[in-house]
Amino acid sequence: MADQIVPTDAPVGAGAGLLPAQGVSARRAVTLGLVAGVVAVFVSANGMVSEFAERDVIAELSLGVLWVLMIPLIVGSLAGQAPAVLQGFAAPRPGWRNPAGGALAGLLAAVVMAAFILLIDAVNVRDVLINVRPDLVETEPRLLTFGQGVGAGVALVLAVYAALGALGGALHLLPDRWRRAVVAGVVWLIVMGVLSSLVSQVLRGIQSTTNIWTAPLADALYQGGALTAPAAAVVFVVGAGLYLLLTRPRRTPARVRVRRLPDRSQRIVRVATLAVALLLLGLLPQVLGPFLSDVLNFAGIFLLMALGLNIVVGFAGLLDLGYVAFFAVGAYTAAVLTSPQSSLGVGWIFWAAIPFVVLAAAVAGLLVGTPVLRMRGDYLAIVTLGFGEIARLLFLSDWLKPIFGGAQGIIRVGDVPLAPGVEAGGAQPRLFFYVVFTFVLLAAYISYALQDSRIGRAWMAMREDELVAETMGVNIVAAKLWAFVIGAILAGFGGALFAAKVGSVFPHSFEVIVSITVLVLIIVGGIASVPGVVVGALILVGLPEILREFEEYRFLLYGALLIFMMVRRPEGFIPNTRRVTELHEQELQQDAWLRAKETE
């Protein structure tokens, strides 16, 4: 089998026999430019530009205008990008084509925008498009035309967009690492500008708990919620610098260095890392302050549910859209048992209610799980969704009002006692954090333990192919019911914590959107991957809380983010290595090809 193996890492460049590379594609630039123009018009017409015209982000630059300016910059950078280097081809050489492609895209975006400006100037479209406000073109501050009249404005739009597009394209003239550093700097700049109130809160929080002098930093950075111009420069430089620092070449990754140590030292390093991590997490609520701790607690409760649903959907492959039912069962069980105002009126302490939460959730899991044993995929999805709605409506109903309080819910749910005289409830978010954290840790531990257990392997087998699993001796009934029960119990914990945190339960907290949110965050985080679920929960639950000022645009952005994320990175933020391969069929083939080549 003597065959020439061409090394895959053969140097590319001016080597002989290499084919010329493809340059920046003008066609792609045209398409991208038109799309960008439509996007720019969309954010103008739906009121995002006007709505955030007052909200300054960086010095005098408002968020509204930033929206509009970022679009040509981003599209210019995309359009000015040369296609990926193919094996056997010479790397494309950066040159005038990059900024030209960017400028072309920017210009086309500007043309679309100019058409829109002329349209709204000539015709009154406000009867239909209610958010096309006069401040876009007609009255000051004329956001779309940069303060100019229509004629000069259109010319300015063409020039500015083309220039920004060219700037975006010109980024590709920089060496890779430097370009990324610039992008990192810009991202930092925008994040720091948009999250100004959050950052100042954290800085003040650090000072109030640790006595480190950080509050003046907040004052130096921000003025009226916007980064000051000098601060913006510093943030940019720090952001870009950090990137360069962290990606220094020849630097051995910490992970690799640890792996080189002897076993014993490795263990010490691991334990020490864990201890430091726990210590930092322990300090976290003190640093964040009550508001952010509260947001974190909220995210934590969702994380708990997500870890549970991850067992059902991620591990066992059972698509459950009615997961909120178990959350509600947990919340109502805890509420009925701990509230002196409930129908039982026993007013137990939280911990005494927990065994009953487990019991109730497990029974609910069995009740939902048994009828659906024979159903698969989409049948399962809609039936479980139905169970979720059934649960909510029963808790809401006048029929069961004597037990669950109907629309008035149950109030005065007990706090979580931690020590004699120390209770954590919604009013003590920093203390409550430790309760949530403990439960999350427990759930994560359960997840990891189950993943490598007998039942975990049974689930994986069942997920891939039920019949094959069965012939391998997996008891499908038991495996499915266990998945439902364990998932239900974790959601039940989430519910109990939610009841204690909010201090009351209302049926309106258990709408189908909760199930969907939890499902979305495990998939966006990376299905079947525990770290992925953690990241997903923090980003998708925490961020919307922090971005409250975006109001109804939150959901618009949320929807767009979901589509973008799934199209661009379907395996999630932190994928489970075992499942990634399933997602990338093509790459799988490629891997097989490479492997075969190596053995030949």
Partner: protein, 423 residues
């Protein structure tokens, strides 16, 4: 690895327990020497620093208009004092609760995080007030709502404390019990109805009001022949209306919201037993310009807080219109205006000014001052607070939408009956 994991969990839990014990809350503020604060502490406003008022309202979601209206009213109340109190500028920190219990928690938490917040105006919805009050009461922040109406937050008006009542909670809006009584009394005595049907939509507000109406109507001697409910998002009301028609009520009380109420009145026209709209009665949630223009609402009755009268109110509306380019949208703007003034008046009473201009506002004293409010002259009437925090001068109007009325203001003006408890 798996060998270690069994050790990790207990280790982690004990570490957390240690941290938790070490970090027990330590929120007390250092007391200044001259001024000794009460048991709830005090707010210290340094010279030239602003006095902070927290505001929790629903300013996003489907109830946004309710909150936006009140935020504007609060701004006007502050502007009427030149934006100043005791020589300090007054600022608000507005938090959105989207009318949800979870939102109430987060919003309250955000306000508690700011030690300068001396009082809170809100919330819009009772459901958000319950959890928010637990947090605000813990910190001892006095709170006045201009639109909560749930009896649970105060009392049943007969001396029984509501389950969610917290010290430091006040409201200038009426208690649901009053509106239920008003609607029932109008239906029973004025219209002579003997048989009533109620429909709610599962919202705590509408459910509470429908129940209050039913209780009062039965007490008066009438019969509730059907107490039913629909769900939010329902569009096909014909099945439930078939049931309602079969019960042959003299009056149908459905204190719900749009768009479900639109479907009810529009589809009721196909039922001979319900075709006379004089049998239909809604509540303040339906007193909107998009509802009363529906042809089928002609002849319908509405209960709701009485629109204030008098020159002070007219001035207020004029100022509102000048400032925001439109008239007030919902019914509770005047209540929030009064709430803001009540709070600021109380601050003027209890604040202690030190030599250097520092202002000390004792939280307990502020609360006590508010509980002692008596005969406060506001836009909504003469307000006196009871021991559970109900301060409203509750006047409920019953209005009718007839062919002559074109706009919501005209409908509001067509008062058939005014109910004032104790008169």
């Amino acid at each position: 690895m798996s060998g270690h994991r069994s050790l990790v969990a207990p280790a982690v839990i004990s570490v957390i327990a240690l941290i938790a014990a070490a970090c027990a809350p330590d929120d007390e503020e250092a007391a200044p020497e001259e001024f000794s604060p009460g048991p709830l502490g005090a707010v210290t406003v340094a010279p030239d620093d602003p006095i902070m008022i927290g505001v929790i309202q629903a300013i996003s979601g489907d109830t946004a208009s309710l909150g936006v209206d009140q935020v504007r009213a609060i701004d006007l109340a502050i502007a009427d004092r030149g934006g100043e109190l005791l020589g300090h500028p007054v600022e608000t920190q507005v938090e959105d609760d989207a009318c949800l219990a979870e939102g109430g928690t987060t919003a309250a938490q955000a306000l508690v995080a700011n030690p300068q917040v001396m009082g809170v105006l809100g919330t819009s919805c009772s459901g958000a007030a319950v959890p928010a009050m637990e947090i605000l009461a813990e910190t001892g922040i006095a709170t006045i709502s201009g639109s909560n109406t749930s009896p649970a937050l105060t009392s049943d008006l007969e001396g029984t404390q509501g389950a969610a009542n917290q010290p430091g909670y006040f409201r200038t809006s009426h208690n649901d019990v009053v509106q239920g009584q008003a609607a029932a009394e109008f239906a029973f005595t004025e219209l002579g109805a003997q048989r009533a049907a109620t429909i709610h939509d599962g919202d705590p507000y509408t459910e509470g009001l429908a129940t209050a109406f039913g209780t009062s109507f039965t007490e008066l001697g009438g019969e509730v022949v059907l107490a039913t409910a629909i769900s939010k998002g329902d569009t096909d009301m014909r099945p439930v209306l078939t049931e309602v028609a079969a019960a042959t009520p003299d009056i149908v009380f459905f204190p719900i919201f749009q768009p479900e109420a639109d479907f009810i009145v529009q589809q009721a026209k196909d039922f001979p037993a319900l075709a006379e709209t004089q049998k239909m009665m809604g509540a303040d949630g339906l007193l909107s310009d998009t509802f009363v223009v529906i042809p089928q609402t002609e002849g319908m009755y509405f209960s709701g807080p009485a629109t204030p009268t008098g020159s002070a109110y007219e001035d207020f509306v004029a100022a509102y219109q000048a400032e925001f380019g439109e008239a007030p949208i919902q019914a509770f703007h005047a209540h929030s205006y009064d709430a803001a003034n009540m709070l600021m008046d109380a601050v003027e009473e209890v604040a202690v000014e030190e030599d250097d201009g520092t202002l000390q506002i004792d939280r307990q004293a502020l609360m006590d001052q508010l509980y002692a409010t008596e005969d406060f002259e506001g836009l909504t009437g003469t307000l006196t607070c009871d021991e559970f925090g109900d301060c409203a001068d509750p006047k409920i109007d019953i209005v009718q939408n007839t062919a002559e009325q074109q706009t919501i203001d005209q409908v509001r003006g067509n008062v058939l009956f005014t109910f004032e408890p104790g008169e």
